[in-house]
Amino acid sequence: MSASILLAARGLAGSRSLANYRSRGGYRGLAKALAMEPAAVVAEVRASGLRGRGGAGFPAGVKWGFVPTDSPKARYLICNADESEPGTFKDRELILVDPHMVLEGIAIAAYAIGARTAYLYIRGEFVREAAILDEAIAEARGAGLLGRRVLGRDFDLEIHVHRGAGAYICGEETALIESLEGKRGLPRLKPPFPAVVGLFGCPTVVNNVETLACVPHIIVRGSAWFAAIGTQRSTGTKLFCVSGHVRRPGVYEEVMGISFRELIEERCGGIRGGRALKAFIPGGSSAPVLPAAKIDTPADFESVAAAGSMLGSGGVIVMDETVDMVWALENLLTFYAHESCGQCTPCREGSDWALDVVRRIRRGHGRPHDLETLRRIARYASQGMTICPLGDAFCGPIASFLEHFGQEFEAAIAGATAPPTLLPVLPLRSDRGLFDHGAGGA
Protein backbone atom coordinates (compact mmCIF):
# COMPACT_ATOMS: atom_id res chain seq x y z
CA MET A 1 0.00 0.00 0.00
CA SER A 2 2.65 2.50 -0.95
CA ALA A 3 1.15 5.94 -1.19
CA SER A 4 2.28 9.06 -2.88
CA ILE A 5 0.63 12.23 -1.73
CA LEU A 6 3.24 14.28 0.11
CA LEU A 7 6.22 12.97 -1.82
CA ALA A 8 4.50 12.60 -5.20
CA ALA A 9 7.07 14.93 -6.77
CA ARG A 10 10.08 12.97 -5.58
CA GLY A 11 12.37 12.29 -8.51
CA LEU A 12 10.68 14.91 -10.66
CA ALA A 13 13.13 17.36 -12.22
CA GLY A 14 12.57 20.93 -11.07
CA SER A 15 9.97 19.94 -8.45
CA ARG A 16 11.00 22.82 -6.22
CA SER A 17 9.98 25.58 -8.59
CA LEU A 18 6.70 27.43 -8.30
CA ALA A 19 5.86 26.74 -11.95
CA ASN A 20 6.33 23.03 -11.43
CA TYR A 21 4.27 23.03 -8.24
CA ARG A 22 1.48 24.93 -9.94
CA SER A 23 1.52 22.58 -12.92
CA ARG A 24 0.70 19.84 -10.41
CA GLY A 25 -2.25 21.78 -9.03
CA GLY A 26 -0.25 23.63 -6.40
CA TYR A 27 -1.84 26.57 -4.54
CA ARG A 28 -5.34 25.48 -5.60
CA GLY A 29 -5.89 24.58 -1.96
CA LEU A 30 -5.00 28.09 -0.87
CA ALA A 31 -7.33 29.62 -3.45
CA LYS A 32 -10.13 27.35 -2.29
CA ALA A 33 -9.46 28.05 1.40
CA LEU A 34 -9.47 31.82 0.89
CA ALA A 35 -12.96 31.52 -0.57
CA MET A 36 -14.12 29.77 2.61
CA GLU A 37 -14.73 31.16 6.09
CA PRO A 38 -11.70 30.57 8.33
CA ALA A 39 -13.89 28.56 10.70
CA ALA A 40 -14.93 26.33 7.82
CA VAL A 41 -11.27 25.63 7.03
CA VAL A 42 -10.70 24.66 10.66
CA ALA A 43 -13.76 22.43 10.56
CA GLU A 44 -12.60 20.73 7.37
CA VAL A 45 -9.19 19.93 8.83
CA ARG A 46 -10.79 18.71 12.04
CA ALA A 47 -13.10 16.42 10.08
CA SER A 48 -10.14 14.95 8.20
CA GLY A 49 -8.81 13.51 11.45
CA LEU A 50 -5.33 14.88 10.64
CA ARG A 51 -3.10 14.35 13.66
CA GLY A 52 0.17 16.14 14.35
CA ARG A 53 3.19 14.52 12.76
CA GLY A 54 5.73 16.17 15.09
CA GLY A 55 5.50 13.46 17.70
CA ALA A 56 2.47 13.86 19.92
CA GLY A 57 -0.26 13.13 17.38
CA PHE A 58 -2.58 15.87 18.56
CA PRO A 59 -5.46 16.56 16.13
CA ALA A 60 -4.48 19.62 14.10
CA GLY A 61 -7.99 21.01 13.60
CA VAL A 62 -8.71 20.75 17.31
CA LYS A 63 -5.53 22.66 18.12
CA TRP A 64 -6.45 25.40 15.65
CA GLY A 65 -9.84 25.62 17.33
CA PHE A 66 -8.17 26.53 20.65
CA VAL A 67 -7.03 29.88 19.28
CA PRO A 68 -9.31 32.53 20.77
CA THR A 69 -11.15 34.37 18.02
CA ASP A 70 -12.07 37.35 20.19
CA SER A 71 -8.55 38.35 21.24
CA PRO A 72 -7.31 41.76 20.11
CA LYS A 73 -3.76 40.42 20.00
CA ALA A 74 -1.88 39.35 16.91
CA ARG A 75 -1.91 35.63 16.18
CA TYR A 76 1.02 33.62 14.93
CA LEU A 77 1.56 30.39 13.10
CA ILE A 78 4.85 28.58 13.56
CA CYS A 79 5.98 25.78 11.29
CA ASN A 80 8.26 23.48 13.25
CA ALA A 81 11.12 22.34 11.02
CA ASP A 82 13.53 21.69 13.86
CA GLU A 83 13.61 17.99 12.97
CA SER A 84 15.71 17.23 16.00
CA GLU A 85 14.41 13.88 17.18
CA PRO A 86 17.14 11.31 16.43
CA GLY A 87 16.05 8.96 13.67
CA THR A 88 13.87 11.59 11.99
CA PHE A 89 14.68 13.08 8.58
CA LYS A 90 11.37 13.52 6.79
CA ASP A 91 10.77 17.27 7.04
CA ARG A 92 14.08 17.81 5.30
CA GLU A 93 12.92 15.51 2.50
CA LEU A 94 9.66 17.45 2.13
CA ILE A 95 11.54 20.74 1.95
CA LEU A 96 14.02 19.38 -0.58
CA VAL A 97 11.30 17.91 -2.79
CA ASP A 98 8.37 20.28 -2.50
CA PRO A 99 8.97 23.48 -0.50
CA HIS A 100 5.90 25.19 -1.96
CA MET A 101 3.66 22.45 -0.56
CA VAL A 102 4.93 23.37 2.88
CA LEU A 103 4.39 27.08 2.22
CA GLU A 104 0.87 26.47 0.95
CA GLY A 105 0.07 24.49 4.08
CA ILE A 106 1.43 27.31 6.22
CA ALA A 107 -0.63 29.88 4.32
CA ILE A 108 -3.87 27.93 4.70
CA ALA A 109 -3.27 27.30 8.40
CA ALA A 110 -2.41 30.97 8.97
CA TYR A 111 -5.62 32.00 7.25
CA ALA A 112 -7.62 29.51 9.30
CA ILE A 113 -6.37 30.82 12.64
CA GLY A 114 -6.22 34.48 11.63
CA ALA A 115 -2.44 34.88 11.61
CA ARG A 116 -0.81 37.52 9.41
CA THR A 117 2.74 36.47 10.22
CA ALA A 118 4.14 32.96 10.19
CA TYR A 119 7.60 31.82 11.16
CA LEU A 120 9.25 28.69 9.93
CA TYR A 121 11.74 27.61 12.57
CA ILE A 122 14.35 25.39 11.00
CA ARG A 123 17.27 23.70 12.70
CA GLY A 124 20.50 25.63 12.21
CA GLU A 125 22.30 22.78 10.47
CA PHE A 126 19.83 22.84 7.56
CA VAL A 127 21.56 25.73 5.81
CA ARG A 128 20.73 24.57 2.31
CA GLU A 129 17.13 23.79 3.20
CA ALA A 130 16.69 27.25 4.74
CA ALA A 131 18.01 28.82 1.52
CA ILE A 132 15.59 26.72 -0.55
CA LEU A 133 12.71 27.95 1.58
CA ASP A 134 13.84 31.56 1.33
CA GLU A 135 13.93 31.20 -2.42
CA ALA A 136 10.48 29.63 -2.52
CA ILE A 137 9.07 32.39 -0.32
CA ALA A 138 10.50 35.06 -2.62
CA GLU A 139 9.00 33.28 -5.61
CA ALA A 140 5.58 32.97 -3.96
CA ARG A 141 5.69 36.60 -2.95
CA GLY A 142 6.48 37.62 -6.50
CA ALA A 143 3.44 35.68 -7.70
CA GLY A 144 1.06 37.30 -5.22
CA LEU A 145 0.74 34.13 -3.14
CA LEU A 146 2.24 35.85 -0.11
CA GLY A 147 2.49 39.46 1.01
CA ARG A 148 -0.28 42.03 0.76
CA ARG A 149 -3.66 40.79 -0.44
CA VAL A 150 -2.85 37.18 -1.12
CA LEU A 151 -4.45 36.12 -4.44
CA GLY A 152 -6.25 39.46 -4.48
CA ARG A 153 -8.20 38.59 -1.35
CA ASP A 154 -8.51 40.42 1.92
CA PHE A 155 -5.67 38.44 3.50
CA ASP A 156 -2.07 39.54 4.12
CA LEU A 157 0.61 37.06 5.04
CA GLU A 158 4.36 37.12 5.54
CA ILE A 159 6.38 33.95 6.15
CA HIS A 160 9.84 34.29 7.66
CA VAL A 161 12.44 31.57 7.96
CA HIS A 162 14.13 31.57 11.36
CA ARG A 163 17.19 29.41 11.86
CA GLY A 164 17.92 27.65 15.12
CA ALA A 165 21.50 27.18 16.22
CA GLY A 166 21.95 23.67 17.58
CA ALA A 167 19.76 22.47 20.44
CA TYR A 168 17.45 19.43 20.41
CA ILE A 169 15.17 21.00 22.96
CA CYS A 170 14.20 23.77 20.55
CA GLY A 171 12.01 21.23 18.74
CA GLU A 172 9.74 21.31 21.79
CA GLU A 173 7.17 23.95 20.99
CA THR A 174 7.58 26.25 23.98
CA ALA A 175 11.39 26.07 23.87
CA LEU A 176 11.08 26.86 20.19
CA ILE A 177 9.02 29.92 21.03
CA GLU A 178 11.61 31.09 23.56
CA SER A 179 14.34 30.55 20.97
CA LEU A 180 12.39 32.46 18.36
CA GLU A 181 12.09 35.33 20.83
CA GLY A 182 15.89 35.41 20.97
CA LYS A 183 16.46 33.55 24.22
CA ARG A 184 17.94 30.31 25.49
CA GLY A 185 15.62 27.49 24.51
CA LEU A 186 14.11 26.73 27.90
CA PRO A 187 10.62 25.16 27.75
CA ARG A 188 7.76 27.01 29.39
CA LEU A 189 5.30 25.60 31.85
CA LYS A 190 1.92 24.70 30.33
CA PRO A 191 -0.76 25.91 30.78
CA PRO A 192 -1.09 28.46 29.42
CA PHE A 193 -0.80 26.65 26.10
CA PRO A 194 0.74 28.43 23.12
CA ALA A 195 -2.66 28.57 21.41
CA VAL A 196 -3.59 31.11 24.09
CA VAL A 197 -0.24 32.59 25.20
CA GLY A 198 2.54 31.80 22.76
CA LEU A 199 4.98 33.81 20.70
CA PHE A 200 5.41 37.38 22.05
CA GLY A 201 2.59 36.57 24.48
CA CYS A 202 0.11 36.10 21.63
CA PRO A 203 -2.03 33.15 20.55
CA THR A 204 0.20 30.83 18.54
CA VAL A 205 -0.20 27.52 16.76
CA VAL A 206 2.87 25.35 16.33
CA ASN A 207 2.63 22.60 13.73
CA ASN A 208 5.13 20.24 12.24
CA VAL A 209 6.18 20.53 8.57
CA GLU A 210 4.57 17.23 7.61
CA THR A 211 1.31 18.13 9.36
CA LEU A 212 1.09 21.37 7.41
CA ALA A 213 2.03 19.68 4.13
CA CYS A 214 -1.11 17.52 4.45
CA VAL A 215 -3.36 20.56 4.67
CA PRO A 216 -3.50 21.66 1.00
CA HIS A 217 -4.47 18.12 -0.02
CA ILE A 218 -7.23 18.01 2.58
CA ILE A 219 -8.65 21.31 1.36
CA VAL A 220 -8.50 20.37 -2.32
CA ARG A 221 -9.77 16.81 -2.06
CA GLY A 222 -11.91 17.12 1.04
CA SER A 223 -11.79 15.80 4.56
CA ALA A 224 -13.72 12.64 3.68
CA TRP A 225 -11.08 11.65 1.12
CA PHE A 226 -8.30 12.08 3.69
CA ALA A 227 -10.21 10.39 6.48
CA ALA A 228 -10.75 7.33 4.29
CA ILE A 229 -6.99 6.76 4.05
CA GLY A 230 -5.36 4.81 6.87
CA THR A 231 -7.13 3.63 9.99
CA GLN A 232 -10.11 5.12 11.68
CA ARG A 233 -8.16 7.17 14.19
CA SER A 234 -4.87 7.52 12.33
CA THR A 235 -5.87 9.02 9.03
CA GLY A 236 -3.83 9.80 5.96
CA THR A 237 -0.36 8.75 4.99
CA LYS A 238 2.75 9.00 7.14
CA LEU A 239 6.36 9.60 6.25
CA PHE A 240 8.47 6.87 7.82
CA CYS A 241 12.18 7.50 8.17
CA VAL A 242 13.96 4.18 8.33
CA SER A 243 17.57 4.13 9.45
CA GLY A 244 20.06 1.69 10.92
CA HIS A 245 20.62 -1.87 9.75
CA VAL A 246 18.25 -2.08 6.78
CA ARG A 247 19.35 -2.59 3.19
CA ARG A 248 17.53 0.48 1.86
CA PRO A 249 17.23 3.18 4.50
CA GLY A 250 15.30 6.31 3.60
CA VAL A 251 11.98 8.13 3.77
CA TYR A 252 8.91 6.09 2.81
CA GLU A 253 5.43 7.49 2.46
CA GLU A 254 2.94 4.83 3.52
CA VAL A 255 -0.70 4.58 4.42
CA MET A 256 -1.10 4.66 8.21
CA GLY A 257 -1.38 1.14 9.52
CA ILE A 258 1.22 -0.53 7.32
CA SER A 259 2.97 -3.17 9.42
CA PHE A 260 6.54 -2.66 10.52
CA ARG A 261 7.26 -6.01 8.88
CA GLU A 262 6.14 -4.73 5.50
CA LEU A 263 8.06 -1.51 6.01
CA ILE A 264 11.29 -3.14 7.13
CA GLU A 265 11.27 -6.34 5.10
CA GLU A 266 9.64 -5.21 1.88
CA ARG A 267 10.17 -1.50 1.46
CA CYS A 268 13.61 -1.45 3.01
CA GLY A 269 14.75 -4.83 1.73
CA GLY A 270 15.18 -6.38 5.16
CA ILE A 271 18.23 -6.44 7.37
CA ARG A 272 21.68 -5.87 5.89
CA GLY A 273 23.98 -8.84 5.43
CA GLY A 274 21.15 -11.33 5.88
CA ARG A 275 21.24 -10.90 9.65
CA ALA A 276 18.23 -11.17 11.93
CA LEU A 277 16.31 -8.25 13.38
CA LYS A 278 16.85 -7.76 17.08
CA ALA A 279 14.91 -4.62 17.91
CA PHE A 280 13.44 -1.46 16.46
CA ILE A 281 12.55 1.95 17.80
CA PRO A 282 9.32 2.84 16.02
CA GLY A 283 8.95 6.59 16.43
CA GLY A 284 12.19 8.47 16.95
CA SER A 285 14.73 7.86 19.70
CA SER A 286 12.35 8.92 22.49
CA ALA A 287 9.92 6.12 21.66
CA PRO A 288 10.33 2.97 23.76
CA VAL A 289 12.25 0.23 21.94
CA LEU A 290 10.36 -2.86 20.74
CA PRO A 291 11.77 -6.36 20.32
CA ALA A 292 11.73 -8.15 16.96
CA ALA A 293 8.66 -10.12 18.07
CA LYS A 294 6.58 -6.96 17.67
CA ILE A 295 7.37 -6.58 14.00
CA ASP A 296 3.78 -7.27 12.93
CA THR A 297 2.51 -4.23 14.81
CA PRO A 298 0.61 -1.89 12.48
CA ALA A 299 2.27 1.51 12.25
CA ASP A 300 -0.50 3.79 13.42
CA PHE A 301 -0.88 5.83 16.62
CA GLU A 302 -3.14 3.39 18.48
CA SER A 303 -1.46 0.15 17.50
CA VAL A 304 2.03 1.32 18.38
CA ALA A 305 0.76 2.64 21.71
CA ALA A 306 -0.92 -0.71 22.37
CA ALA A 307 2.39 -2.43 21.64
CA GLY A 308 4.01 -0.32 24.37
CA SER A 309 5.66 2.41 22.37
CA MET A 310 4.66 5.37 20.24
CA LEU A 311 4.44 6.30 16.59
CA GLY A 312 6.06 9.62 17.47
CA SER A 313 7.76 11.26 14.52
CA GLY A 314 7.87 8.10 12.42
CA GLY A 315 11.61 7.66 12.80
CA VAL A 316 12.18 3.90 12.70
CA ILE A 317 15.62 2.89 13.96
CA VAL A 318 16.41 -0.71 13.11
CA MET A 319 18.94 -2.82 15.01
CA ASP A 320 20.21 -6.24 13.99
CA GLU A 321 21.16 -9.22 16.17
CA THR A 322 24.74 -8.00 16.67
CA VAL A 323 23.79 -4.84 18.57
CA ASP A 324 24.82 -4.68 22.21
CA MET A 325 21.77 -3.16 23.87
CA VAL A 326 23.76 -1.78 26.78
CA TRP A 327 25.84 0.12 24.24
CA ALA A 328 22.72 1.32 22.40
CA LEU A 329 21.15 2.67 25.60
CA GLU A 330 24.41 4.37 26.53
CA ASN A 331 24.42 6.06 23.12
CA LEU A 332 20.85 7.32 23.56
CA LEU A 333 21.47 8.53 27.09
CA THR A 334 24.55 10.40 25.91
CA PHE A 335 22.23 12.29 23.61
CA TYR A 336 19.68 13.15 26.30
CA ALA A 337 22.26 14.08 28.92
CA HIS A 338 23.80 16.44 26.38
CA GLU A 339 20.47 17.91 25.30
CA SER A 340 18.67 18.34 28.63
CA CYS A 341 18.23 22.09 28.96
CA GLY A 342 19.04 21.92 32.65
CA GLN A 343 15.97 23.65 34.03
CA CYS A 344 14.41 20.70 35.86
CA THR A 345 16.41 18.76 38.40
CA PRO A 346 14.94 15.30 37.62
CA CYS A 347 15.82 15.62 33.94
CA ARG A 348 19.18 17.36 34.29
CA GLU A 349 20.46 15.11 37.07
CA GLY A 350 18.57 12.00 36.03
CA SER A 351 19.89 11.94 32.47
CA ASP A 352 23.50 12.37 33.61
CA TRP A 353 23.13 9.88 36.42
CA ALA A 354 21.50 7.25 34.24
CA LEU A 355 24.27 7.72 31.70
CA ASP A 356 26.94 7.24 34.36
CA VAL A 357 25.28 4.05 35.55
CA VAL A 358 24.85 2.54 32.08
CA ARG A 359 28.39 3.53 31.21
CA ARG A 360 29.86 1.72 34.15
CA ILE A 361 27.73 -1.34 33.46
CA ARG A 362 29.13 -1.45 29.95
CA ARG A 363 32.69 -0.92 31.16
CA GLY A 364 32.31 -4.00 33.33
CA HIS A 365 31.91 -2.23 36.65
CA GLY A 366 28.19 -2.61 37.16
CA ARG A 367 26.83 -3.06 40.66
CA PRO A 368 23.99 -5.31 41.80
CA HIS A 369 21.57 -2.47 42.49
CA ASP A 370 22.26 -0.59 39.27
CA LEU A 371 19.15 -1.78 37.43
CA GLU A 372 16.94 -0.76 40.32
CA THR A 373 18.65 2.65 40.26
CA LEU A 374 17.90 2.97 36.55
CA ARG A 375 14.27 1.97 37.04
CA ARG A 376 13.89 4.55 39.77
CA ILE A 377 15.39 7.28 37.65
CA ALA A 378 13.03 6.30 34.85
CA ARG A 379 10.12 6.56 37.23
CA TYR A 380 11.04 9.85 38.89
CA ALA A 381 12.13 11.88 35.87
CA SER A 382 9.01 11.14 33.84
CA GLN A 383 5.27 11.60 33.94
CA GLY A 384 4.85 15.20 34.80
CA MET A 385 7.90 15.59 37.02
CA THR A 386 9.47 17.96 34.51
CA ILE A 387 8.37 21.09 32.65
CA CYS A 388 8.59 19.47 29.23
CA PRO A 389 8.54 15.84 28.08
CA LEU A 390 12.31 15.55 27.60
CA GLY A 391 12.26 13.68 30.90
CA ASP A 392 9.86 11.12 29.45
CA ALA A 393 11.93 11.06 26.29
CA PHE A 394 14.88 9.41 28.01
CA CYS A 395 12.90 7.48 30.64
CA GLY A 396 10.89 5.56 28.03
CA PRO A 397 14.06 4.20 26.45
CA ILE A 398 15.51 3.23 29.86
CA ALA A 399 12.37 1.39 30.97
CA SER A 400 11.89 -0.38 27.64
CA PHE A 401 15.52 -1.44 27.21
CA LEU A 402 15.38 -2.98 30.68
CA GLU A 403 12.00 -4.56 30.04
CA HIS A 404 12.93 -6.26 26.79
CA PHE A 405 16.68 -6.67 27.06
CA GLY A 406 17.20 -6.74 30.83
CA GLN A 407 19.17 -10.01 30.57
CA GLU A 408 21.93 -8.24 28.67
CA PHE A 409 22.27 -5.69 31.44
CA GLU A 410 22.10 -8.39 34.12
CA ALA A 411 24.74 -10.44 32.35
CA ALA A 412 27.03 -7.43 32.15
CA ILE A 413 26.58 -6.81 35.86
CA ALA A 414 27.01 -10.48 36.79
CA GLY A 415 30.34 -10.56 34.99
CA ALA A 416 31.44 -7.25 36.43
CA THR A 417 34.55 -6.68 38.44
CA ALA A 418 34.85 -4.04 41.10
CA PRO A 419 36.52 -0.90 39.87
CA PRO A 420 40.18 -0.82 40.85
CA THR A 421 39.78 2.11 43.23
CA LEU A 422 37.04 3.33 45.49
CA LEU A 423 36.37 6.34 43.32
CA PRO A 424 34.62 5.74 40.02
CA VAL A 425 37.25 5.00 37.42
CA LEU A 426 35.11 6.10 34.54
CA PRO A 427 35.65 9.42 32.89
CA LEU A 428 32.58 10.83 34.55
CA ARG A 429 30.94 13.76 32.93
CA SER A 430 30.47 15.45 36.25
CA ASP A 431 31.00 14.86 39.91
CA ARG A 432 27.45 13.59 40.23
CA GLY A 433 28.41 9.95 39.97
CA LEU A 434 30.23 10.30 43.27
CA PHE A 435 27.01 10.60 45.13
CA ASP A 436 25.18 7.54 43.97
CA HIS A 437 26.79 4.91 46.17
CA GLY A 438 24.08 2.61 47.42
CA ALA A 439 21.46 4.51 45.50
CA GLY A 440 19.20 1.49 45.25
CA GLY A 441 18.47 1.66 48.94
CA ALA A 442 19.01 5.32 49.72
Binding site: P86, E158, G182, G244, H245, F335, G342
Partner: protein, 175 residues
Protein backbone atom coordinates in the same frame (compact mmCIF):
# COMPACT_ATOMS: atom_id res chain seq x y z
CA UNK B 1 24.72 22.28 26.34
CA UNK B 2 28.35 21.36 26.18
CA UNK B 3 30.11 22.60 23.11
CA UNK B 4 33.87 22.85 23.19
CA UNK B 5 34.19 24.98 26.30
CA UNK B 6 35.54 28.41 25.60
CA UNK B 7 36.79 30.60 28.40
CA UNK B 8 34.96 33.72 27.39
CA UNK B 9 36.53 35.77 30.15
CA UNK B 10 39.93 35.64 28.49
CA UNK B 11 39.19 36.20 24.83
CA UNK B 12 41.48 34.60 22.34
CA UNK B 13 43.45 37.06 20.28
CA UNK B 14 42.42 37.91 16.78
CA UNK B 15 39.61 40.37 17.10
CA UNK B 16 39.70 43.97 18.26
CA UNK B 17 37.79 44.93 21.36
CA UNK B 18 35.56 47.48 19.67
CA UNK B 19 33.90 45.81 16.73
CA UNK B 20 31.66 47.68 14.33
CA UNK B 21 29.13 46.59 11.74
CA UNK B 22 29.81 47.90 8.28
CA UNK B 23 27.10 49.32 6.01
CA UNK B 24 26.31 45.97 4.42
CA UNK B 25 25.83 44.33 7.80
CA UNK B 26 23.77 47.26 9.03
CA UNK B 27 21.39 46.91 6.13
CA UNK B 28 21.08 43.16 6.74
CA UNK B 29 20.41 43.82 10.41
CA UNK B 30 17.69 46.30 9.51
CA UNK B 31 16.08 43.69 7.23
CA UNK B 32 16.26 41.09 10.01
CA UNK B 33 14.70 43.35 12.62
CA UNK B 34 11.84 44.23 10.28
CA UNK B 35 10.69 40.62 10.54
CA UNK B 36 9.91 40.76 14.26
CA UNK B 37 7.77 42.97 16.49
CA UNK B 38 10.60 43.04 19.06
CA UNK B 39 14.29 43.66 18.32
CA UNK B 40 15.38 40.96 20.78
CA UNK B 41 13.87 38.31 18.51
CA UNK B 42 16.47 39.22 15.94
CA UNK B 43 19.24 37.93 18.17
CA UNK B 44 19.80 34.52 16.59
CA UNK B 45 19.72 35.80 13.00
CA UNK B 46 22.08 38.65 13.87
CA UNK B 47 24.46 36.23 15.57
CA UNK B 48 24.36 34.05 12.45
CA UNK B 49 25.22 37.12 10.40
CA UNK B 50 28.22 37.80 12.65
CA UNK B 51 29.42 34.23 12.50
CA UNK B 52 29.14 34.17 8.72
CA UNK B 53 31.08 37.40 8.51
CA UNK B 54 33.75 36.85 11.16
CA UNK B 55 33.91 33.07 11.36
CA UNK B 56 33.06 32.88 15.04
CA UNK B 57 31.36 34.82 17.83
CA UNK B 58 34.00 36.69 19.80
CA UNK B 59 33.34 38.56 23.03
CA UNK B 60 33.69 41.76 21.02
CA UNK B 61 31.02 40.56 18.60
CA UNK B 62 28.71 39.75 21.51
CA UNK B 63 29.16 43.25 22.91
CA UNK B 64 28.48 44.84 19.54
CA UNK B 65 25.34 42.74 19.06
CA UNK B 66 24.15 43.51 22.57
CA UNK B 67 24.58 47.24 22.01
CA UNK B 68 22.83 47.11 18.65
CA UNK B 69 19.79 45.17 19.92
CA UNK B 70 19.55 46.89 23.29
CA UNK B 71 20.37 43.75 25.26
CA UNK B 72 22.78 43.15 28.14
CA UNK B 73 26.09 41.63 27.00
CA UNK B 74 25.71 38.90 29.63
CA UNK B 75 22.32 38.00 28.20
CA UNK B 76 23.78 37.68 24.73
CA UNK B 77 26.61 35.53 26.08
CA UNK B 78 24.05 33.35 27.84
CA UNK B 79 22.22 32.80 24.57
CA UNK B 80 25.38 32.19 22.55
CA UNK B 81 26.58 29.59 25.04
CA UNK B 82 23.27 27.73 24.98
CA UNK B 83 23.48 26.83 21.30
CA UNK B 84 26.11 24.41 20.07
CA UNK B 85 26.52 25.95 16.63
CA UNK B 86 27.83 29.32 17.73
CA UNK B 87 31.60 29.03 17.77
CA UNK B 88 33.18 30.76 20.71
CA UNK B 89 36.68 30.10 19.44
CA UNK B 90 37.84 30.53 15.86
CA UNK B 91 37.59 27.09 14.25
CA UNK B 92 39.86 25.78 11.49
CA UNK B 93 38.99 26.43 7.87
CA UNK B 94 36.76 23.38 7.86
CA UNK B 95 34.61 22.41 10.80
CA UNK B 96 34.10 18.64 10.73
CA UNK B 97 30.92 17.91 12.65
CA UNK B 98 30.64 14.18 13.14
CA UNK B 99 27.25 12.80 14.13
CA UNK B 100 27.72 10.17 16.82
CA UNK B 101 24.05 9.45 17.52
CA UNK B 102 22.55 5.97 17.26
CA UNK B 103 21.53 5.57 13.60
CA UNK B 104 24.88 6.83 12.35
CA UNK B 105 26.77 4.73 14.89
CA UNK B 106 24.89 1.62 13.75
CA UNK B 107 26.27 2.30 10.29
CA UNK B 108 29.91 2.69 11.19
CA UNK B 109 30.67 6.11 12.65
CA UNK B 110 33.09 4.59 15.16
CA UNK B 111 35.54 3.60 12.46
CA UNK B 112 35.38 7.05 10.86
CA UNK B 113 36.01 8.77 14.17
CA UNK B 114 39.06 6.62 14.91
CA UNK B 115 40.38 7.33 11.45
CA UNK B 116 39.76 11.08 11.68
CA UNK B 117 41.49 11.36 15.03
CA UNK B 118 44.49 9.49 13.66
CA UNK B 119 44.66 11.38 10.41
CA UNK B 120 44.26 14.82 11.96
CA UNK B 121 46.25 14.07 15.09
CA UNK B 122 43.56 15.58 17.31
CA UNK B 123 40.78 14.55 19.65
CA UNK B 124 37.25 15.99 19.55
CA UNK B 125 37.48 19.74 20.04
CA UNK B 126 40.93 19.92 18.47
CA UNK B 127 42.21 21.65 15.35
CA UNK B 128 44.78 20.05 13.06
CA UNK B 129 48.27 21.54 13.20
CA UNK B 130 47.89 23.18 9.79
CA UNK B 131 44.73 24.95 10.95
CA UNK B 132 42.64 23.33 8.22
CA UNK B 133 40.32 21.06 10.20
CA UNK B 134 38.55 21.33 13.51
CA UNK B 135 36.98 18.06 14.64
CA UNK B 136 33.82 18.15 16.75
CA UNK B 137 31.27 15.58 17.87
CA UNK B 138 27.65 16.55 17.26
CA UNK B 139 24.28 14.96 17.96
CA UNK B 140 21.87 13.71 15.29
CA UNK B 141 21.99 15.90 12.20
CA UNK B 142 18.57 14.87 10.88
CA UNK B 143 19.94 12.84 7.99
CA UNK B 144 20.03 9.42 9.66
CA UNK B 145 19.08 7.51 6.51
CA UNK B 146 22.45 8.45 5.04
CA UNK B 147 24.52 7.46 8.06
CA UNK B 148 27.30 7.83 8.80
CA UNK B 149 26.91 11.57 8.29
CA UNK B 150 29.39 14.40 8.73
CA UNK B 151 28.66 18.06 8.23
CA UNK B 152 31.60 20.09 6.92
CA UNK B 153 30.90 23.79 7.45
CA UNK B 154 27.43 24.07 5.81
CA UNK B 155 27.53 20.90 3.73
CA UNK B 156 26.31 17.40 4.55
CA UNK B 157 28.23 14.30 3.50
CA UNK B 158 26.45 10.97 3.93
CA UNK B 159 26.98 7.25 3.36
CA UNK B 160 30.61 7.77 4.30
CA UNK B 161 33.35 5.19 4.31
CA UNK B 162 36.94 5.79 5.32
CA UNK B 163 37.92 5.93 1.64
CA UNK B 164 35.23 8.44 0.69
CA UNK B 165 36.04 10.56 3.70
CA UNK B 166 39.73 10.61 2.83
CA UNK B 167 38.93 11.72 -0.70
CA UNK B 168 36.77 14.54 0.65
CA UNK B 169 39.41 15.68 3.12
CA UNK B 170 42.12 15.56 0.45
CA UNK B 171 40.02 17.73 -1.80
CA UNK B 172 39.22 20.21 0.97
CA UNK B 173 42.80 20.40 2.18
CA UNK B 174 43.95 21.23 -1.34
CA UNK B 175 41.27 23.88 -1.87
Amino acid sequence: MSGPAAPVASPPAGQPAGLAFDAAMESEIAAILARYPRPGAGLLPVLWLCQRRWGWISPAAMSAVAARLGLAPAFVEGVVSFYTMFQRRPPGRFLLQVCTTLSCQLCGTGELVAHLKRRLGVDFGGTSADGAFTLVEVQCLGACGEGPVIQVNDDYYGDLTVERLDAILDRLAAS
